[in-house]
Symmetry: D2
């Protein structure tokens, strides 16, 4: 299993009139966290796209337990339990110190520039293998 | 059951470098659709907040089947199957003409200004009852 | 001169913790208004991009006079005073009923897919000429 | 004069279908940079709001010179030349390494919870005085 942590500081633009963070922003934080998860295992999402591979989102789920507020310092924990095949699943937990604010997951496909499903490149799978088996 | 339709025209700001709509925007469209669903049954989310009730999101789920593009004219169909009690569940389908692009759901609690769970106001429940029983 | 009007209903996601619309959203409304201005003179920004022309923003300016709130029904008035050449300038006013909330302008260049400055296509200039001279 | 630097890594959600960062996001980066500028002189925007002071935006101007892209590491330089009185002006430059991508400014008023103009609190003005005079 891969487990990485991403630090977030809540931006003012991410709040809404309820005084909380608007719930849609959690998807942008998940996105940021999975890009930093790839960094952590020496893969670059930018290079993946440059090589002609895209990782669109097939599905998302989020459970919100407690609100987040402007200027909160949060940690987004990112988990990958299975090697990427045609798809990859990533799970997330968002913490403010010891308090779990939200959990979620995203599912992604690998597609090429024409939008066709495609296997992930070898260096990508190898990166996950190395990270998972140490 | 309540079923309403909301028309959306995709904004340029909602797209991303993949050339599609960024997946987080579907949550804003769902939000817009449920506000128009309330309008359709003569309830106003703005008045609900003015009266001291808030409807924060407890959970969301979205399945993305096909991408949406800049300038697409979409229909967000909104369904409510059960009367609101301490919580309310709303389901959504997004269509471009006959093509189903995405499905999803959101769960909400009613809370007061202090963030405590609270029953929805009587006129709110009555509005749903009237709409559901015709 | 071209003058068009675009109706906006403020979305919840556009508000921030101050209880107002976050100031960055006015740029998205200006964008929406200029796309509807093009519609009104029988030009399509989407077709312009399909034909290989892009209209990136070179500069913006906004003066905020009064706040906008969730659920406000606003009118964005869009003005073009001069024919597009290598650049085009568009001016905006945002009203809630008779109250002027904001004014602004955006400047745009025409570029091709390689990012090089380019003259706008003939049908585009002709569309503006027809609209301006009636 | 105060001069501070804020590091930004461009998020995927900030891009648009042109392949660049959408121009509205620069306003969120300016916002982030001025909050970090306040941090740097031992002032907290969050505490300012808790004390009942708000800093809404009266006006913005941005000149875009070169596009920013997904995953770019940018520096937002933030300048304050004059002590805050009833208003405060902040200027910005955005760099990717040595390349200047954009310049801009924002003007802000101090208001209280009722939306009335108000002088900034003494500790706030003192913080700027100390920072400016060394």
């Amino acid at each position: 299993m891969i487990r990485t942590e991403t630090a977030i500081r809540v931006r003012y633009v991410e709040t809404d009139a309820m005084g909380f963070v608007h719930h849609a922003n959690y998807l942008s934080w998940f996105e940021l966290a999975r890009i930093e998860m790839l960094d952590a295992i020496n893969l670059s999402y930018k290079e993946l796209e440059t090589a002609g591979y895209y990782l669109p989102v097939l599905g998302v789920a989020i459970t919100y337990r407690k609100p987040a507020y402007f200027d909160d310092r949060l940690i987004v924990v990112c988990y990958v339990r299975d090697l990427p095949r045609l798809q990859i699943k990533i799970e997330y937990e968002i913490f403010r110190e010891e308090t779990l604010l939200a959990t979620g997951s995203t599912d992604h496909a690998f597609i090429n520039k024409e939008g066709r499903p495609i296997r992930p490149p070898k260096n990508f799978v190898d990166g996950f293998k190395t990270a998972m088996t140490g």
